[in-house]
Symmetry: none
Subunit: 237 residues, 2 copies
DNA sequence: TCTTGAAAGTGACGTTACGTCATCTTGTAT
DNA sequence: ATACAAGATGACGTAACGTCACTTTCAAGA
């Protein structure tokens, strides 16, 4: 009811007549118009725009709809960006256990501004084939099962860190990370080492556009990884 | 500048001090806070919410981000619906050439049903209690890394299901599930129960990165599991 | 015809995150 | 000392209603 009063106020939809007492009376025509208004509203038009459209006999619908579509597409892009950022935050929160909003913000800025430079850097560091593998890297900004497995593994590592690198829990997690990386990158150890070198250095990671992981966790994994490899060698040899 | 005045008014960000004349002075700390505010704003939080988050020492970030993500996903869905409708309209315009309100009205009829369905608005659940009422469901984003690994593994299984039980991708995933289950339950293989337990929860929503574990997936896993065991026996025997 | 209670009317303020005047005061460079 | 840019203050405007508080009208039953 409030709505009808408002539409009346702004002359968007005036009642067909009024009773002596002032009650608003609407006819068939007005009902139809109301439906039109509701419909256009769901398309995201403002009442002002709707008023214009409905009152202009020669309104150019195709142009109006097109520009509305453009606007909506813009909004969609914005929302998708927010979504990605939120997912990234949630994942990194899981890996690191804490967040520094400002650091993350910087990263995002960097990510947005520096896309080109990062591409160049990656080109310098990796061959064609390796770059294809790079695209397989877990994407913190997504919730697909594959990325989630990485996130969960790193998160568990962090969780059990206090138990030390030799703890069986840790070694099992490292084992699964190993397998996962074989699945992702193949048996290509060179590539893995190279990646790991970059990963370990915050600056290089940053340049390459890798998602930052706490240094502590990285160092811990490095040690645990060495233990793991030694054990494997022993078993084999 | 207007912005700073406003933040001061609502006690979101008060200046570190003022000059005799009343000019606002901001220090390093305030600058940082301002940046945080700006960042959170880009994520779609309202100033009221931001105020709460930043002033609460024990703010539950993971939950807050999560509910914001849900809200954003909702918005995204709405926008995508608008987009579809607009595209539909534009296309039908192209076919018919001229369109007038009569045409639009036909389409209104078409979409009318949708309106009705969409009237069940979901509100944004910012506060814990409100959420607890409506969604008790475990959501990937609120899971601990350990459970997350399960979800991610099953999710990957589902992703590659079409390749058949014998596919190497599948067998590798099954292998990791096997290891994970040993870690969790020991050598006895009763982790099927666990799977069924996980299965009980979902169904409600599979957006928001929520992975329902369907019957189909479980059946598939069952078969793949048998293949896996056979292979192992062969290797051993 | 009178009563009565629900529905409708009116007016006003609240909502968000500032933008934009108009007017006044301060800080600072010359 | 003076001039002038920059900041402060207060106020109104924004979009589309929601939500009081209070009054009036309409239609049905006695």
């Amino acid at each position: 009811m409030r709505t009808l009063r408002y539409y009346d106020e702004i002359n968007l939809l005036t009642p067909a007549g009024k009773t002596e007492g002032g009650h608003r009376l609407y006819g068939e025509k007005e009902l139809k118009k109301l439906q039109e208004i509701q419909f256009l509203k769901t398309l995201g038009f403002s009442l002002k725009e709707i008023k214009e459209m409905l009152s202009d006999e020669n309104w150019n619908w195709s142009q109006g709809l097109q520009s509305q579509l453009n606007y909506i597409l813009d909004e969609k892009e914005k929302i998708i960006n927010i979504e990605k950022t939120l997912i990234g935050l949630i994942n990194s929160l899981r890996i690191d256990g804490a967040i520094d909003l400002i650091e993350i913000n910087k990263l995002i800025q960097l990510y947005q501004d520096d896309f080109e430079r990062r591409k160049v850097y990656r080109k310098r560091m990796f061959h064609e084939k390796e770059r294809q593998l790079l695209d397989l890297l877990p994407n913190v900004n997504s919730l697909d099962p594959d990325s989630l497995e990485w996130v969960s593994l790193l998160g568990q590592l962090k969780q059990h860190m206090e138990k030390g690198v030799e703890a069986p829990e840790i070694q099992r997690i490292v084992g699964r990370i190993h397998e996962k990386s074989i699945e992702t990158f193949g048996e290509n150890d060179d590539f893995f080492d190279k990646l790991w070198e970059i990963r370990k250095s915050p600056e290089k990671s940053n340049k390459a556009g890798f998602y930052p992981i706490e240094q502590e966790v990285l160092n811990f994994f490095d040690k645990a990884w060495q233990v793991f490899q030694e054990k494997q060698r022993k078993e084999e040899g």
